[in-house]
């Protein structure tokens, strides 16, 4: 088992929360983890990414080589496309469709969707809407994690246990809401898969 994930988003959107859950879950599953992140000026509203690698073997490089990512998990649609050169040709994109526009020349949603549909069965998630349904827009990252869960190679039970662990300090209500968000995303993802 060897999975390479690119996490993508805009600085401040909290992709490291997603990374933290997957890291924890992988470690609990006895897997090896490497997760490179950007602590950068780009985190002031710039493009940010994290390379997350999980394996049952030794991992050497902190970075994912081009053409070897199994999954791009993005919380912003344009950002999903930025890292296409990392994706294996039949790799999957799971992305939120809520665009975050803070620069000139942002392409039209139609153009972005067109490009996304060139990839292998992209999972396109209206994370804002689904997270509100789960209880709060702040859980949108857990919606996205849920949507990506089928492609991560770690069981949902373990991922949910990690969510519980990581949000422990915030109390039972916040945990429950985030679990709900995770399941909402997961259900949505499964629905899209069967619809295809």
């Amino acid at each position: 088992m060897h999975i390479n994930i690119i996490l993508a988003g805009v600085g401040g959107q909290g992709i490291l929360t997603i990374a933290a859950v997957i890291d924890h879950a992988a470690l609990q599953s006895g897997l090896t983890v490497r997760q490179a992140e950007v602590h950068g000026m780009s985190q002031r509203g710039g493009a940010v990414q994290s390379h997350l690698r999980i394996s049952d073997k030794e991992i050497f490089s902190d970075l994912i080589a081009e053409g070897t990512a199994n999954l791009i998990l993005s919380v912003e649609p344009l950002e999903a496309l930025r890292y296409l050169p990392f994706l294996v040709p039949d790799g999957r994109i799971v992305t939120a469709t809520d665009s975050f526009i803070n620069m000139e020349g942002y392409p039209s949603m139609k153009q972005i969707l067109e490009e996304l549909h060139h990839t292998n069965h992209p999972v396109l998630v209206n994370a804002a809407k689904l997270s509100r349904e789960a209880g709060s827009i702040r859980t949108s990252n857990m919606v996205m994690l849920g949507a990506a869960a089928p492609f991560i190679g770690i069981t949902s039970e373990v991922l949910e246990a990690s969510i519980t662990k990581l949000f422990q300090a915030k109390g039972a209500d916040i945990i429950a809401m985030n679990i709900r968000a995770f399941r909402t995303g997961q259900a949505f993802s499964q629905l899209q898969a069967t619809a295809k």
Binding site: V33, T68, M103
Partner: protein, 561 residues
């Protein structure tokens, strides 16, 4: 130069994440998932340091932050507050070592320029308690203005340099470095690069040991570097080089990965990971000599060169040793950064090593043509925005509208929509460059500097300007924190900044405070216009707390104000 290349300090924690547990154990293996920077910190704590000294700077900040967060669990107190700059940090660490205790000092690569005087001379005096300087280099300039290679400094100072390749090695190396420092009585440079510092992996700790007792021997002959002592000490240092090499020769950080074939890879630091990755992916079996402890282990290198026909030299940083080895073994047998086999600049990765080893990379999906850059920007509602709006209004009425600036969040004022600043070179250079330009006749001469950067190395420049009566206006953007690196306490802000300026000799009539808020725009423009027009040294302090700091305090009321 790209935007990111102009910035110095980074290290922001994202909203939702900062309140989550970021390190945790696997109960089965007792492995903790740690950033490379944190692995150094934990290693140093377990090695029995009595203190860490540092000024924040990406990618080194998290070393000190980890110690600040975790020192409470230690039996013995560990001193860990931020220093005013890297030089004061280094000297304090040397003082702690002088008193017999172990000290860690951390900085980013350009920070070592600031601390270089202390660093180089501490190799001449030598140390008492173990002294380790952890320097984080930033190849590819993710958050810095250059990609200088600190190994050069290590060579220059003639001290051991350690360059681990993984998070676990970083942890283990921390203790090894302190032991080496105490054995040789020399400071030891621990070099890490951004990629390792900011990447997480499972790390297994070992038992921690006690701190050293206080033990400050009188040793004028070592520590009073008057020429007669300095000459003898320097000769000692030169004489020790063979001993340093012997340590490197038997070091666990320098090891051979056997293989077959006529091409071998001499892999320095993190480059080792990329070669191993390529070996794993493509099923290669090339021999590798991993180097992580300098000075170079000459015998090991010679044996390796005897074994291989062609050697690929892979260094994460400058081609420091490639150049040296080319001189020794000749150009024909060596490939690397200097002949274009690897890129001359920027960080390495598995892709560049794949190509360098003559393999074909997989076909990749190109980035779609519709892609646009997403540059960073000042937070919405940030006081720097209001400051630049006012400043731009004032400067637009001057024919010469140069603004000299510095390193921090406000550097983002160089970008659209403000395009408000025209220089950013090194910490503190805003004031001194404005002074020089004013001396040359440029009017007006305006500097914008943050509170933390001002106390780091802006104050002395202001003193120069006052002594020289150079007409300039210094705007101190006081947001109450070192914002760009994630909100560390700055050495002075608020009313203390006013007192510092008065103490340096700023005329009280030309020391003004403004509040950079939309509602104060007209008033702020008036103050800036008047002070910029005045033909002398004036200081305008723009005081408003960083929004991120405000938010952090709200989330966690215990955060120090």
């Amino acid at each position: 130069m790209t935007v990111r290349a102009q910035t110095y300090f980074i290290g922001f924690k994202e909203n939702n994440f900062s309140s989550l547990e970021t390190t945790y154990f696997n109960e089965l293996t007792m492995k903790q998932l740690l950033l490379g920077a944190e692995a150094i910190a934990l290693g140093a704590l377990d090695a029995g340091i009595s203190g860490v000294y540092a000024y924040p700077g990406t990618p080194s900040t998290e070393i000190t932050e980890y110690i600040q967060k975790n020192r409470g669990e230690r039996e013995q107190p560990v001193r860990s507050d931020w220093s005013a700059n890297e030089k004061t940090a280094y000297e304090a660490a040397l003082g702690m070592s002088y008193a017999g205790k172990r000290s860690l000092v951390c900085m980013k690569h350009v920070g070592l320029n600031v601390a270089a005087d202390a660093f180089i001379n501490s190799a001449i005096t030598g140390v008492n308690g173990g002294l380790v300087v952890a320097v984080a280099d930033d190849p590819s300039m993710h958050s810095s203005q250059n990609e200088q290679d600190s190994r050069v400094y290590g060579k220059f100072a003639m001290v051991p340099v350690l360059e681990p390749a993984s998070q676990q090695e970083l942890y283990d190396t921390a203790r090894y470095a302190f032991d080496l420092s105490e054995t040789l009585k020399l400071p030891v440079l621990l070099r890490v690069t951004t990629r390792l510092a900011h990447s997480r992996a499972g790390v297994e700790g070992t038992a921690s040991r006690l701190q050293n007792p206080l033990n400050a021997p009188y040793a004028q002959d070592r520590f009073v570097l008057m020429p007669h002592n300095a000459r003898r000490q320097y000769n000692n240092l030169v004489g020790m080089q063979g001993q340093l090499e012997e340590h490197a020769e038997s070091s666990w950080l320098n090891r051979l990965i056997p293989g077959t074939g006529s091409t071998g890879v001499l892999a320095f630091g993190i480059a080792f990971n990329y070669v191993m990755e390529v070996r794993q992916t493509y099923g290669l079996d090339c021999p590798i000599l991993k180097i992580g402890h300098y000075p170079l282990p000459r015998k090991k290198i010679e044996a390796f060169f005897n074994f291989c026909d062609t050697i690929l030299v892979a260094e994460e940083g400058y081609p420091v040793y490639e150049e040296l080895l080319r001189g020794y073994f000749g150009n024909n047998r060596i490939k690397g950064r200097l002949d274009g086999t690897l890129p001359r600049a920027g960080e390495l990765n598995a892709d560049s090593l794949t190509l360098a080893l003559g393999l074909a990379k997989p076909e990749v999906i190109p980035v779609p043509a519709i892609m646009v850059n997403r540059p960073p920007e000042l937070c919405k509602g940030c006081g720097h925005r209001d400051l630049y709006e006012a400043l731009n209004t004032v400067m637009s009425s001057h024919e010469q509208h140069h603004v000299f600036s510095d390193i921090g969040c406000y550097t983002l004022g160089a970008l659209a929509p403000y395009n408000a600043i025209h220089t950013c070179v090194d910490m503190g250079a805003s004031i001194t460059m404005a002074k020089g330009a004013a001396d040359a006749g440029l009017r007006p001469a305006v500097a914008v500097i943050g509170d933390s950067t001002f106390t780091h190395s802006g104050m002395t420049g202001l003193l120069d300007a006052i002594n020289d009566r150079s007409p300039l206006t210094v705007i101190i953007a006081d947001n109450d924190t070192t914002a760009m690196t994630g909100g560390q306490d700055s050495s002075a802000n608020g009313s203390r900044l006013l007192k510092i300026c008065l103490g340096l000799g700023v005329d009280e009539a030309h020391l003004k405070t403004i509040i950079p808020l939309k509602s104060h725009l007209a008033e702020n423009i008036a103050v800036l216009r008047k002070e910029i027009a005045w033909d002398g040294v004036s200081v305008v302090i723009a005081q408003r707390e960083c929004l991120e700091t405000t938010a952090r305090k709200k989330r966690n009321p215990a955060v120090k104000a």
